[in-house]
């Protein structure tokens, strides 16, 4: 067993863990944040995407031990109380959500993309979410949602 400390959604968590424990298991089983989903366990589907030190990772392909000291954002860290993030608002508005299982990962990929490049073109948006499989929507409305999120974020920044 080894001791690790991770900062998840702004809060520090220290746990003694088996060094083989994956980051997704740390988040779901140790911290009990269930919004991060496991779809394939091999980094193909992106349902377990979280943001680690500003970059998206498949939390099923990262050992919690490797993530020691890292800052992690999960879907639970996105909204501020009942106040939704503009990406969440945009996804609701355009109807980007069907079964919802890919959505936490999809939203985090979108956030990482827009944090880095708020003016991402359509091609860049498709690239940005290309590690998140969705079987329901055909992506079209998700891409539309990202575009609306861009506008919302830009507008809110102008308002500041």
């Amino acid at each position: 067993m080894i001791e690790v400390t991770l900062k998840i959604n702004g809060k520090m968590y220290t746990r003694k863990i088996n060094p083989m424990l994956r980051l997704i298991d740390f988040i779901r089983d140790e911290i009990k944040l269930k919004g991060t989903k496991e779809g394939c366990g091999e980094g193909e589907c992106g349902a377990c995407t979280v943001i680690m030190n500003g970059k998206t990772v498949n939390s099923c392909l990262v050992l919690a031990a490797s993530a020691n000291g890292a800052e992690i954002t999960t879907i639970e860290g996105l909204s501020n109380g009942d106040h939704l993030h503009p990406i969440q608002e945009a996804f609701i508005e355009v109807g980007a959500v069907q079964c919802g299982y890919c959505i936490p990962g999809m939203i985090l990929s979108t956030k990482a993309l827009l944090d880095e490049n708020l003016d991402a073109t359509e091609a860049q948006i498709k690239e940005g979410i290309s590690g998140n499989l969705c079987r329901c929507t055909g992506y079209t409305k998700i891409v539309e949602g990202v575009k609306i999120a861009q506008k919302k974020i830009i507008n809110s920044q102008e308002g500041d």
């Binding site: 995407t49 998206t56 099923c60 392909l61 490797s66 990929s109 590690g131």
Partner: protein, 285 residues
Amino acid sequence: MKLLSFFQPNNIDEAKVLLSKYENSKLLAGGTDLLLDFKKDMNVPQYLIDLSKILELKSIVENESDITIGSMVTFTQVKGNKLIKDNFNSIILCAKSMGSPQIRNVATIGGNIINGAVAADIVPCVISLDGILVFESIDTLREVRCEDYFRNNSIEKIKGNEILTKIIIPKRPWLSGYYKLGKRNSLAIARANTALSLSIEENIIKDLRVCLGAVGKFPFRVNELESRAVGKIVEWLFDDEALNILENTVYESIKERKTMPFKRNAIKGVFKNALLSAVESGGNK
């Protein structure tokens, strides 16, 4: 086997010491492949040495005659790096088409090379750019041309106490290109890929390196095409004479395999697309 300990050394020397101390150990260099093995309970070592905290391995440095890429540089880092962009178009194209954003954020150049999967994306690029791999252990340092590493893999293969620390790629005013044929446009494993670099003067080919991937156990160069091309005009590379060399090469390499009839044909299109990507990048080398 059961994992007993996990280490995160802060520098290369610490890593070398750990590696020599613990016999049954493995290096974690990103882990996008290794964790797949763990999932199947394969290749689980007693000691795991995570290289992700070693800053020395994470930089891309320009020297007088080369650019040196640390083995723990991620594909995302490569993709956005100006030095690479200015010098090695093929590596940029390769990095962009590798895996997915999440995979590129974690997967490293060193990991990709050492894992040496048949369809490893970066290897054909490094070979076609005459890249050199640097291996270090507590008491040794050796440099191996990437091409030799795979051609003589049984001899050159990384030793249990070695770390691939960097990849040295010579700077030269050549064009380079890359194309990967996959079954889909993201998260694709290469059905076949080609990396090439070439030196052209007034439309005459002065030098050429062509490396094919996913059409043999390891990526390999097509020497016959390279030598025949020298002195010819660039357009010759699009002619049947050149393309037939590729077709025969692939045929010889995988004639027993079911995919041979497809790949011997597809390689010509893959090569052409790689060549076009090189020629089109001509404006900025």
